[in-house]
Protein backbone atom coordinates (compact mmCIF):
# COMPACT_ATOMS: atom_id res chain seq x y z
CA UNK A 1 0.00 0.00 0.00
CA UNK A 2 2.82 2.38 0.99
CA UNK A 3 4.74 1.61 -2.18
CA UNK A 4 1.57 2.20 -4.24
CA UNK A 5 1.04 5.62 -2.63
CA UNK A 6 4.73 6.42 -3.04
CA UNK A 7 4.65 5.45 -6.72
CA UNK A 8 1.43 7.40 -7.30
CA UNK A 9 2.92 10.44 -5.57
CA UNK A 10 6.07 10.29 -7.66
CA UNK A 11 4.11 9.93 -10.89
CA UNK A 12 1.84 12.84 -9.96
CA UNK A 13 4.85 15.00 -9.09
CA UNK A 14 6.48 14.08 -12.41
CA UNK A 15 3.32 15.01 -14.34
CA UNK A 16 3.14 18.40 -12.59
CA UNK A 17 6.84 18.99 -13.19
CA UNK A 18 6.53 18.14 -16.89
CA UNK A 19 3.38 20.28 -17.25
CA UNK A 20 5.08 23.29 -15.65
CA UNK A 21 8.16 22.71 -17.80
CA UNK A 22 6.02 22.62 -20.94
CA UNK A 23 4.19 25.84 -20.07
CA UNK A 24 7.46 27.63 -19.30
CA UNK A 25 8.98 26.48 -22.61
CA UNK A 26 5.79 27.45 -24.45
CA UNK A 27 5.90 30.97 -22.99
CA UNK A 28 9.57 31.20 -23.88
CA UNK A 29 8.71 30.06 -27.40
CA UNK A 30 6.05 32.78 -27.75
CA UNK A 31 8.59 35.54 -27.27
CA UNK A 32 11.66 34.10 -29.01
CA UNK A 33 12.53 32.97 -32.52
CA UNK A 34 11.87 30.92 -34.56
CA UNK A 35 8.15 31.64 -34.85
CA UNK A 36 6.10 29.41 -37.14
CA UNK A 37 3.61 31.99 -38.48
CA UNK A 38 1.77 29.65 -40.83
CA UNK A 39 1.06 27.24 -38.01
CA UNK A 40 -0.18 30.07 -35.78
CA UNK A 41 -2.61 31.30 -38.45
CA UNK A 42 -3.74 27.73 -39.14
CA UNK A 43 -4.42 27.10 -35.45
CA UNK A 44 -6.37 30.36 -35.08
CA UNK A 45 -8.55 29.10 -37.92
CA UNK A 46 -8.88 25.55 -36.55
CA UNK A 47 -9.57 26.57 -32.95
CA UNK A 48 -11.49 29.77 -33.67
CA UNK A 49 -13.48 29.40 -36.89
CA UNK A 50 -13.61 25.61 -36.56
CA UNK A 51 -15.32 25.79 -33.16
CA UNK A 52 -17.83 28.45 -34.11
CA UNK A 53 -20.76 26.15 -34.95
CA UNK A 54 -20.59 24.11 -31.77
CA UNK A 55 -20.20 27.24 -29.64
CA UNK A 56 -23.12 28.98 -31.37
CA UNK A 57 -25.41 26.01 -30.87
CA UNK A 58 -24.39 25.53 -27.24
CA UNK A 59 -24.83 29.24 -26.49
CA UNK A 60 -28.19 29.51 -28.25
CA UNK A 61 -29.82 26.56 -26.51
CA UNK A 62 -28.30 27.38 -23.12
CA UNK A 63 -29.67 30.93 -23.25
CA UNK A 64 -33.07 29.68 -24.39
CA UNK A 65 -33.27 26.98 -21.71
CA UNK A 66 -32.10 29.45 -19.07
CA UNK A 67 -34.83 31.94 -20.02
CA UNK A 68 -37.43 29.21 -20.01
CA UNK A 69 -36.40 27.87 -16.61
CA UNK A 70 -35.89 31.23 -14.93
CA UNK A 71 -39.23 32.45 -16.31
CA UNK A 72 -40.98 29.82 -14.22
CA UNK A 73 -39.14 30.83 -11.06
CA UNK A 74 -39.48 34.57 -11.64
CA UNK A 75 -43.23 34.16 -12.12
CA UNK A 76 -43.50 33.11 -8.47
CA UNK A 77 -42.26 36.59 -7.51
CA UNK A 78 -44.02 38.45 -10.30
CA UNK A 79 -40.63 39.34 -11.73
CA UNK A 80 -40.95 37.94 -15.24
CA UNK A 81 -39.88 41.27 -16.91
CA UNK A 82 -36.35 40.98 -15.41
CA UNK A 83 -35.70 37.66 -17.15
CA UNK A 84 -33.26 39.40 -19.54
CA UNK A 85 -31.18 40.62 -16.62
CA UNK A 86 -30.96 37.11 -15.18
CA UNK A 87 -30.11 35.51 -18.52
CA UNK A 88 -27.41 38.07 -19.37
CA UNK A 89 -25.79 37.97 -15.93
CA UNK A 90 -25.73 34.17 -15.94
CA UNK A 91 -24.47 33.92 -19.50
CA UNK A 92 -21.81 36.61 -19.27
CA UNK A 93 -20.41 35.81 -15.85
CA UNK A 94 -20.71 32.05 -15.71
CA UNK A 95 -22.43 29.95 -18.34
CA UNK A 96 -20.92 31.56 -21.44
CA UNK A 97 -17.28 31.17 -20.38
CA UNK A 98 -17.70 27.75 -18.76
CA UNK A 99 -19.85 26.14 -21.43
CA UNK A 100 -17.71 27.54 -24.24
CA UNK A 101 -14.63 26.19 -22.46
CA UNK A 102 -16.24 22.78 -22.00
CA UNK A 103 -17.20 22.72 -25.69
CA UNK A 104 -13.61 23.62 -26.58
CA UNK A 105 -12.29 20.92 -24.27
CA UNK A 106 -14.38 18.34 -26.09
CA UNK A 107 -13.61 19.59 -29.55
CA UNK A 108 -10.13 21.12 -29.36
CA UNK A 109 -8.61 19.41 -26.33
CA UNK A 110 -9.40 15.95 -27.61
CA UNK A 111 -8.23 16.83 -31.13
CA UNK A 112 -4.91 18.24 -29.95
CA UNK A 113 -4.22 15.28 -27.64
CA UNK A 114 -5.09 12.79 -30.40
CA UNK A 115 -3.04 14.58 -33.06
CA UNK A 116 0.07 15.10 -30.96
CA UNK A 117 -0.36 11.66 -29.36
CA UNK A 118 -0.47 10.01 -32.79
CA UNK A 119 2.64 11.93 -33.79
CA UNK A 120 4.36 10.69 -30.62
CA UNK A 121 3.59 7.00 -31.15
CA UNK A 122 4.54 7.11 -34.84
CA UNK A 123 7.88 8.81 -34.11
CA UNK A 124 6.85 11.98 -35.98
CA UNK A 125 7.78 14.10 -32.96
CA UNK A 126 11.25 12.52 -32.90
CA UNK A 127 11.44 13.06 -36.67
CA UNK A 128 10.69 16.75 -36.13
CA UNK A 129 13.48 16.97 -33.57
CA UNK A 130 15.89 15.07 -35.81
CA UNK A 131 15.10 17.54 -38.60
CA UNK A 132 16.03 20.44 -36.34
CA UNK A 133 12.53 21.58 -35.34
CA UNK A 134 11.58 22.16 -31.72
CA UNK A 135 8.17 20.44 -31.33
CA UNK A 136 7.15 22.91 -28.63
CA UNK A 137 7.64 25.88 -30.93
CA UNK A 138 6.11 24.13 -33.91
CA UNK A 139 3.15 22.40 -32.26
CA UNK A 140 2.53 23.82 -28.79
CA UNK A 141 3.12 27.56 -29.18
CA UNK A 142 0.66 28.06 -32.10
CA UNK A 143 -2.03 26.12 -30.23
CA UNK A 144 -1.45 27.98 -26.96
CA UNK A 145 -1.67 31.34 -28.71
CA UNK A 146 -4.83 30.30 -30.55
CA UNK A 147 -6.35 28.92 -27.35
CA UNK A 148 -5.61 32.02 -25.30
CA UNK A 149 -6.92 34.48 -27.90
CA UNK A 150 -9.76 32.56 -29.53
CA UNK A 151 -11.46 31.32 -26.33
CA UNK A 152 -12.45 34.90 -25.29
CA UNK A 153 -13.69 35.69 -28.82
CA UNK A 154 -15.80 32.53 -28.89
CA UNK A 155 -17.08 33.27 -25.39
CA UNK A 156 -18.26 36.75 -26.38
CA UNK A 157 -20.07 35.25 -29.38
CA UNK A 158 -21.57 32.54 -27.19
CA UNK A 159 -22.72 35.16 -24.63
CA UNK A 160 -24.43 37.20 -27.32
CA UNK A 161 -26.10 34.21 -28.97
CA UNK A 162 -27.21 32.94 -25.54
CA UNK A 163 -28.83 36.27 -24.74
CA UNK A 164 -30.44 36.20 -28.18
CA UNK A 165 -31.78 32.69 -27.49
CA UNK A 166 -33.12 33.99 -24.18
CA UNK A 167 -34.84 36.83 -26.01
CA UNK A 168 -36.61 34.40 -28.38
CA UNK A 169 -38.07 32.54 -25.40
CA UNK A 170 -38.80 35.73 -23.44
CA UNK A 171 -40.58 37.31 -26.39
CA UNK A 172 -42.54 34.35 -27.79
CA UNK A 173 -43.01 32.01 -24.84
CA UNK A 174 -42.96 34.27 -21.78
CA UNK A 175 -44.58 37.16 -23.70
CA UNK A 176 -42.08 39.71 -22.33
CA UNK A 177 -41.82 42.91 -24.33
CA UNK A 178 -38.61 43.06 -26.39
CA UNK A 179 -37.75 46.58 -25.23
CA UNK A 180 -38.16 45.50 -21.63
CA UNK A 181 -35.93 42.46 -22.18
CA UNK A 182 -33.06 44.42 -23.69
CA UNK A 183 -33.34 47.35 -21.28
CA UNK A 184 -33.27 45.00 -18.29
CA UNK A 185 -30.02 43.61 -19.69
CA UNK A 186 -28.33 47.00 -20.09
CA UNK A 187 -29.57 48.21 -16.70
CA UNK A 188 -28.52 45.08 -14.88
CA UNK A 189 -25.10 44.66 -16.46
CA UNK A 190 -22.07 46.12 -14.67
CA UNK A 191 -18.48 46.44 -15.84
CA UNK A 192 -17.37 44.03 -13.12
CA UNK A 193 -19.56 41.37 -14.75
CA UNK A 194 -17.96 42.02 -18.11
CA UNK A 195 -14.44 41.83 -16.65
CA UNK A 196 -15.28 38.58 -14.93
CA UNK A 197 -16.76 37.13 -18.11
CA UNK A 198 -13.80 38.22 -20.20
CA UNK A 199 -10.99 37.21 -17.87
CA UNK A 200 -12.14 33.63 -17.43
CA UNK A 201 -11.82 32.46 -21.07
CA UNK A 202 -8.17 33.58 -21.24
CA UNK A 203 -7.42 31.24 -18.34
CA UNK A 204 -9.65 28.46 -19.69
CA UNK A 205 -8.19 28.65 -23.20
CA UNK A 206 -4.68 28.43 -21.80
CA UNK A 207 -5.55 25.47 -19.55
CA UNK A 208 -7.43 23.47 -22.21
CA UNK A 209 -4.63 23.74 -24.76
CA UNK A 210 -1.65 23.28 -22.45
CA UNK A 211 -3.24 20.24 -20.79
CA UNK A 212 -4.06 18.72 -24.20
CA UNK A 213 -0.53 19.37 -25.50
CA UNK A 214 1.04 17.99 -22.32
CA UNK A 215 -1.09 14.83 -22.43
CA UNK A 216 -0.41 14.42 -26.16
CA UNK A 217 3.34 14.75 -25.73
CA UNK A 218 3.30 12.16 -22.91
CA UNK A 219 1.47 9.58 -25.03
CA UNK A 220 2.95 6.09 -24.99
CA UNK A 221 1.71 2.70 -26.11
CA UNK A 222 0.41 2.85 -29.68
CA UNK A 223 -3.18 3.50 -30.68
CA UNK A 224 -4.49 2.42 -27.28
CA UNK A 225 -2.25 5.09 -25.77
CA UNK A 226 -3.68 7.71 -28.14
CA UNK A 227 -7.22 6.79 -27.06
CA UNK A 228 -6.18 7.00 -23.40
CA UNK A 229 -4.57 10.41 -23.95
CA UNK A 230 -7.68 11.74 -25.66
CA UNK A 231 -9.86 10.67 -22.74
CA UNK A 232 -7.43 12.06 -20.15
CA UNK A 233 -7.23 15.33 -22.03
CA UNK A 234 -11.03 15.82 -22.02
CA UNK A 235 -11.49 14.72 -18.41
CA UNK A 236 -8.54 16.69 -17.04
CA UNK A 237 -9.40 19.71 -19.18
CA UNK A 238 -13.03 19.75 -18.05
CA UNK A 239 -12.13 19.39 -14.37
CA UNK A 240 -9.46 22.08 -14.73
CA UNK A 241 -11.98 24.45 -16.34
CA UNK A 242 -14.54 23.97 -13.57
CA UNK A 243 -11.93 24.24 -10.81
CA UNK A 244 -10.35 27.30 -12.42
CA UNK A 245 -13.80 28.85 -12.75
CA UNK A 246 -14.23 28.68 -8.99
CA UNK A 247 -10.83 30.20 -8.25
CA UNK A 248 -11.06 32.95 -10.88
CA UNK A 249 -14.54 33.82 -9.59
CA UNK A 250 -13.19 34.14 -6.05
CA UNK A 251 -10.30 36.32 -7.22
CA UNK A 252 -12.55 38.56 -9.31
CA UNK A 253 -15.07 38.96 -6.48
CA UNK A 254 -12.25 39.91 -4.12
CA UNK A 255 -10.86 42.42 -6.63
CA UNK A 256 -13.98 44.05 -8.13
CA UNK A 257 -17.02 43.51 -5.93
Amino acid sequence: MVSFIERWGKEAALEVQEYVRLTVLAFHGIFTRPIYRHDIIEQFDVIGAGSLTVVLLAGLFTGAALASQSGLTLDQFGARPVVGRLVSASMIKELGPVLTALMLTGRIGSGIAAEIGSMMVTDQINALRALGTDPIRKLVVPRVLAGIFMAPVLTVISDFIGILGGWVIARYQLQVNSGLYWSSITKGLYMQDVWMGLSKPFVFGFLIVTIACHVGLRTRGGTAGVGRSTTISVVAGSVAVIAADFFVTQIMIALFY
Partner: protein, 282 residues
Protein backbone atom coordinates in the same frame (compact mmCIF):
# COMPACT_ATOMS: atom_id res chain seq x y z
CA UNK B 1 43.02 27.31 -28.06
CA UNK B 2 40.17 29.57 -29.24
CA UNK B 3 36.84 28.16 -30.37
CA UNK B 4 37.46 29.22 -33.96
CA UNK B 5 40.90 27.59 -34.08
CA UNK B 6 39.50 24.44 -32.48
CA UNK B 7 36.67 24.33 -35.03
CA UNK B 8 39.20 24.69 -37.85
CA UNK B 9 41.32 21.87 -36.40
CA UNK B 10 38.25 19.63 -36.10
CA UNK B 11 37.31 20.41 -39.72
CA UNK B 12 40.84 19.51 -40.88
CA UNK B 13 40.79 16.23 -38.96
CA UNK B 14 37.32 15.33 -40.27
CA UNK B 15 38.40 16.14 -43.82
CA UNK B 16 41.07 13.42 -43.71
CA UNK B 17 40.25 9.86 -44.84
CA UNK B 18 39.73 7.54 -41.88
CA UNK B 19 38.55 10.31 -39.55
CA UNK B 20 36.16 9.19 -36.80
CA UNK B 21 32.74 10.79 -37.31
CA UNK B 22 30.91 9.07 -34.44
CA UNK B 23 32.56 7.86 -31.25
CA UNK B 24 30.82 6.06 -28.38
CA UNK B 25 32.99 5.81 -25.27
CA UNK B 26 31.67 3.62 -22.43
CA UNK B 27 28.09 4.78 -22.87
CA UNK B 28 25.54 3.56 -20.34
CA UNK B 29 21.80 4.08 -20.14
CA UNK B 30 19.03 2.66 -17.96
CA UNK B 31 15.33 3.43 -17.60
CA UNK B 32 14.58 2.95 -13.90
CA UNK B 33 15.62 -0.63 -13.13
CA UNK B 34 15.91 -1.67 -16.76
CA UNK B 35 19.44 -1.38 -18.15
CA UNK B 36 19.40 -0.69 -21.90
CA UNK B 37 23.08 0.00 -22.60
CA UNK B 38 25.60 -1.48 -20.14
CA UNK B 39 28.86 -0.28 -21.60
CA UNK B 40 28.88 0.59 -25.28
CA UNK B 41 32.01 1.75 -27.10
CA UNK B 42 32.54 1.92 -30.85
CA UNK B 43 33.80 4.24 -33.56
CA UNK B 44 32.38 4.99 -37.00
CA UNK B 45 34.90 6.03 -39.63
CA UNK B 46 34.10 8.62 -42.28
CA UNK B 47 32.51 7.03 -45.35
CA UNK B 48 32.26 3.63 -43.66
CA UNK B 49 29.19 1.65 -42.62
CA UNK B 50 28.56 0.40 -39.12
CA UNK B 51 25.86 -2.26 -38.97
CA UNK B 52 24.41 -2.82 -35.51
CA UNK B 53 22.72 -6.18 -35.13
CA UNK B 54 20.88 -7.60 -32.19
CA UNK B 55 17.60 -8.98 -30.95
CA UNK B 56 14.68 -6.71 -30.03
CA UNK B 57 15.41 -4.78 -26.85
CA UNK B 58 19.18 -5.15 -27.13
CA UNK B 59 19.68 -1.37 -27.28
CA UNK B 60 20.28 -0.87 -31.02
CA UNK B 61 17.73 1.89 -31.62
CA UNK B 62 18.65 3.51 -28.32
CA UNK B 63 22.22 3.94 -29.56
CA UNK B 64 20.98 5.77 -32.66
CA UNK B 65 18.72 8.03 -30.60
CA UNK B 66 21.67 8.93 -28.37
CA UNK B 67 23.73 9.91 -31.42
CA UNK B 68 20.90 12.15 -32.63
CA UNK B 69 20.38 13.60 -29.15
CA UNK B 70 16.83 12.25 -28.87
CA UNK B 71 17.93 10.43 -25.70
CA UNK B 72 20.64 11.32 -23.22
CA UNK B 73 23.11 8.73 -21.94
CA UNK B 74 23.42 8.31 -18.16
CA UNK B 75 27.21 8.21 -18.46
CA UNK B 76 29.94 7.92 -21.05
CA UNK B 77 30.99 10.22 -23.84
CA UNK B 78 29.54 10.58 -27.34
CA UNK B 79 31.27 12.49 -30.14
CA UNK B 80 29.58 13.36 -33.43
CA UNK B 81 31.59 15.11 -36.14
CA UNK B 82 34.21 16.18 -33.63
CA UNK B 83 31.73 17.64 -31.16
CA UNK B 84 30.91 16.15 -27.79
CA UNK B 85 27.13 15.80 -27.78
CA UNK B 86 26.26 13.88 -24.62
CA UNK B 87 25.92 17.04 -22.55
CA UNK B 88 24.36 19.36 -25.12
CA UNK B 89 20.94 20.89 -24.59
CA UNK B 90 18.13 20.48 -27.15
CA UNK B 91 18.96 23.90 -28.60
CA UNK B 92 22.69 23.15 -28.79
CA UNK B 93 21.95 19.84 -30.57
CA UNK B 94 20.26 21.57 -33.51
CA UNK B 95 23.51 22.43 -35.40
CA UNK B 96 24.78 18.87 -34.80
CA UNK B 97 21.54 17.44 -36.24
CA UNK B 98 22.02 19.55 -39.36
CA UNK B 99 24.63 16.99 -40.42
CA UNK B 100 22.66 13.90 -39.35
CA UNK B 101 19.93 12.24 -41.37
CA UNK B 102 17.80 9.74 -39.48
CA UNK B 103 15.42 7.14 -40.88
CA UNK B 104 12.93 5.95 -38.29
CA UNK B 105 11.14 2.62 -38.06
CA UNK B 106 8.07 2.85 -40.32
CA UNK B 107 9.47 6.04 -41.88
CA UNK B 108 7.79 8.53 -39.50
CA UNK B 109 6.61 10.67 -42.41
CA UNK B 110 4.40 13.64 -41.51
CA UNK B 111 1.02 12.24 -42.49
CA UNK B 112 -0.66 15.61 -43.04
CA UNK B 113 2.00 16.74 -45.54
CA UNK B 114 2.50 15.68 -49.16
CA UNK B 115 5.61 13.85 -50.34
CA UNK B 116 6.99 17.19 -51.62
CA UNK B 117 6.41 18.89 -48.25
CA UNK B 118 7.83 15.93 -46.35
CA UNK B 119 11.00 15.75 -48.42
CA UNK B 120 11.54 19.51 -48.37
CA UNK B 121 10.39 19.93 -44.76
CA UNK B 122 13.71 21.00 -43.28
CA UNK B 123 14.51 23.29 -46.18
CA UNK B 124 11.05 24.91 -46.16
CA UNK B 125 10.80 25.34 -42.40
CA UNK B 126 14.31 25.69 -41.06
CA UNK B 127 16.28 27.49 -43.78
CA UNK B 128 16.04 30.72 -45.76
CA UNK B 129 16.61 28.92 -49.05
CA UNK B 130 14.49 30.37 -51.91
CA UNK B 131 11.43 28.28 -52.79
CA UNK B 132 12.61 27.59 -56.36
CA UNK B 133 15.87 26.13 -55.03
CA UNK B 134 14.01 24.00 -52.49
CA UNK B 135 11.68 22.65 -55.16
CA UNK B 136 14.70 21.89 -57.35
CA UNK B 137 16.42 20.03 -54.51
CA UNK B 138 13.24 18.08 -53.68
CA UNK B 139 13.00 17.07 -57.34
CA UNK B 140 16.66 15.98 -57.29
CA UNK B 141 16.39 13.75 -54.24
CA UNK B 142 13.09 12.23 -55.37
CA UNK B 143 14.76 11.51 -58.71
CA UNK B 144 17.72 9.94 -56.87
CA UNK B 145 15.44 7.49 -55.09
CA UNK B 146 13.20 7.04 -58.16
CA UNK B 147 9.93 8.44 -56.78
CA UNK B 148 9.54 11.65 -58.79
CA UNK B 149 6.05 10.73 -59.99
CA UNK B 150 4.76 10.54 -56.40
CA UNK B 151 5.71 14.10 -55.48
CA UNK B 152 2.14 15.32 -54.87
CA UNK B 153 0.84 12.22 -53.11
CA UNK B 154 0.08 11.94 -49.41
CA UNK B 155 2.07 9.35 -47.39
CA UNK B 156 -1.10 7.28 -46.95
CA UNK B 157 -1.20 6.75 -50.73
CA UNK B 158 2.26 5.17 -50.78
CA UNK B 159 3.30 1.57 -50.21
CA UNK B 160 5.47 0.63 -47.22
CA UNK B 161 8.63 0.54 -49.31
CA UNK B 162 7.85 3.87 -50.96
CA UNK B 163 7.31 5.46 -47.54
CA UNK B 164 10.74 4.29 -46.38
CA UNK B 165 12.32 5.65 -49.54
CA UNK B 166 10.56 9.00 -49.09
CA UNK B 167 11.89 9.01 -45.52
CA UNK B 168 15.38 8.50 -46.96
CA UNK B 169 14.76 11.36 -49.41
CA UNK B 170 13.64 13.60 -46.54
CA UNK B 171 16.76 12.75 -44.57
CA UNK B 172 19.18 13.41 -47.45
CA UNK B 173 17.50 16.58 -48.75
CA UNK B 174 19.81 18.77 -46.64
CA UNK B 175 22.92 16.74 -47.55
CA UNK B 176 23.92 15.26 -44.17
CA UNK B 177 27.28 13.53 -43.95
CA UNK B 178 26.03 10.83 -41.56
CA UNK B 179 22.92 8.69 -42.03
CA UNK B 180 21.29 6.75 -39.21
CA UNK B 181 18.95 3.95 -40.31
CA UNK B 182 16.68 2.52 -37.63
CA UNK B 183 15.20 -0.76 -38.91
CA UNK B 184 14.73 0.81 -42.35
CA UNK B 185 13.75 -2.51 -43.99
CA UNK B 186 11.81 -4.18 -41.19
CA UNK B 187 8.38 -5.32 -42.31
CA UNK B 188 9.13 -5.00 -46.02
CA UNK B 189 9.05 -7.87 -48.49
CA UNK B 190 12.50 -8.98 -49.76
CA UNK B 191 12.21 -7.24 -53.14
CA UNK B 192 11.14 -3.90 -51.65
CA UNK B 193 13.74 -4.26 -48.88
CA UNK B 194 16.42 -4.65 -51.56
CA UNK B 195 15.40 -1.36 -53.19
CA UNK B 196 15.80 0.36 -49.81
CA UNK B 197 19.17 -1.42 -49.29
CA UNK B 198 20.29 -0.13 -52.67
CA UNK B 199 19.42 3.44 -51.70
CA UNK B 200 21.66 3.05 -48.64
CA UNK B 201 24.47 1.69 -50.80
CA UNK B 202 24.10 4.48 -53.36
CA UNK B 203 24.19 7.15 -50.69
CA UNK B 204 27.27 5.65 -49.08
CA UNK B 205 29.25 5.07 -52.26
CA UNK B 206 28.12 7.90 -54.51
CA UNK B 207 27.55 10.65 -51.93
CA UNK B 208 30.27 9.49 -49.48
CA UNK B 209 27.81 9.42 -46.59
CA UNK B 210 28.82 7.57 -43.42
CA UNK B 211 26.11 5.14 -42.33
CA UNK B 212 24.99 3.50 -39.13
CA UNK B 213 22.45 0.80 -39.85
CA UNK B 214 20.43 -0.73 -37.05
CA UNK B 215 18.64 -3.90 -38.07
CA UNK B 216 17.83 -7.46 -37.19
CA UNK B 217 17.29 -8.32 -40.87
CA UNK B 218 20.48 -10.28 -41.59
CA UNK B 219 19.78 -10.54 -45.29
CA UNK B 220 19.70 -6.74 -45.65
CA UNK B 221 22.71 -6.25 -43.40
CA UNK B 222 24.87 -8.59 -45.48
CA UNK B 223 23.52 -7.17 -48.76
CA UNK B 224 24.58 -3.64 -47.81
CA UNK B 225 27.94 -4.86 -46.51
CA UNK B 226 28.76 -6.97 -49.53
CA UNK B 227 27.62 -4.71 -52.36
CA UNK B 228 28.74 -1.38 -53.70
CA UNK B 229 27.40 1.24 -56.10
CA UNK B 230 29.28 2.64 -59.06
CA UNK B 231 28.52 4.55 -62.24
CA UNK B 232 29.18 2.85 -65.53
CA UNK B 233 30.61 4.61 -68.59
CA UNK B 234 27.19 6.04 -69.47
CA UNK B 235 26.73 7.46 -65.97
CA UNK B 236 24.13 4.87 -65.04
CA UNK B 237 24.28 3.66 -61.44
CA UNK B 238 24.75 -0.06 -60.91
CA UNK B 239 24.93 -2.17 -57.77
CA UNK B 240 27.71 -4.75 -57.93
CA UNK B 241 29.42 -7.11 -55.44
CA UNK B 242 31.81 -5.13 -53.25
CA UNK B 243 35.57 -5.33 -53.62
CA UNK B 244 37.38 -6.88 -50.61
CA UNK B 245 38.59 -3.41 -49.63
CA UNK B 246 35.07 -1.97 -49.80
CA UNK B 247 33.70 -4.95 -47.87
CA UNK B 248 36.09 -4.23 -45.02
CA UNK B 249 34.59 -0.73 -44.73
CA UNK B 250 31.36 -2.28 -43.48
CA UNK B 251 31.81 -3.26 -39.86
CA UNK B 252 29.33 -5.29 -37.86
CA UNK B 253 28.51 -4.92 -34.18
CA UNK B 254 26.28 -7.38 -32.41
CA UNK B 255 24.56 -6.23 -29.24
CA UNK B 256 23.22 -8.46 -26.52
CA UNK B 257 21.63 -6.99 -23.38
CA UNK B 258 23.32 -3.64 -23.97
CA UNK B 259 26.79 -5.06 -24.48
CA UNK B 260 28.84 -5.68 -27.62
CA UNK B 261 29.31 -9.42 -28.12
CA UNK B 262 30.88 -9.15 -31.58
CA UNK B 263 32.71 -6.54 -33.63
CA UNK B 264 34.20 -7.23 -37.08
CA UNK B 265 33.53 -7.59 -40.79
CA UNK B 266 30.98 -9.81 -42.55
CA UNK B 267 33.35 -12.75 -43.06
CA UNK B 268 34.46 -12.74 -39.42
CA UNK B 269 30.82 -12.59 -38.32
CA UNK B 270 29.92 -15.59 -40.47
CA UNK B 271 32.91 -17.55 -39.12
CA UNK B 272 32.26 -16.69 -35.46
CA UNK B 273 32.09 -19.77 -33.22
CA UNK B 274 30.10 -17.90 -30.52
CA UNK B 275 26.93 -19.97 -29.86
CA UNK B 276 24.72 -16.85 -29.50
CA UNK B 277 25.94 -15.44 -32.82
CA UNK B 278 25.59 -18.81 -34.53
CA UNK B 279 22.07 -19.03 -33.18
CA UNK B 280 21.32 -15.47 -34.34
CA UNK B 281 22.71 -16.10 -37.83
CA UNK B 282 20.82 -19.34 -38.26
Amino acid sequence: MGTETRTETVKQILAEPGAPVVVFDHVKLAFDEKVILRDLSFTVIKGHTKIILGASGSGKSTALKIICGLLKADSGVVWVNGQRVDQLSELEMMPVRADLGMIFQEGALFDSLTVRENVGYKLYEETDMPLEQIDKRVGEVLGFIGLSEHINKMPSELSGGQRRRVAIARAISFRPSIMLYDEATTGLDPITATTVDEEMIKLRDLENVSSIIVTHQLRDAFYVAEHMARRDATGKVEIVPATPQKERQAEFIMLRDGLIVFEGDADTLRASPDPYIRDFLS
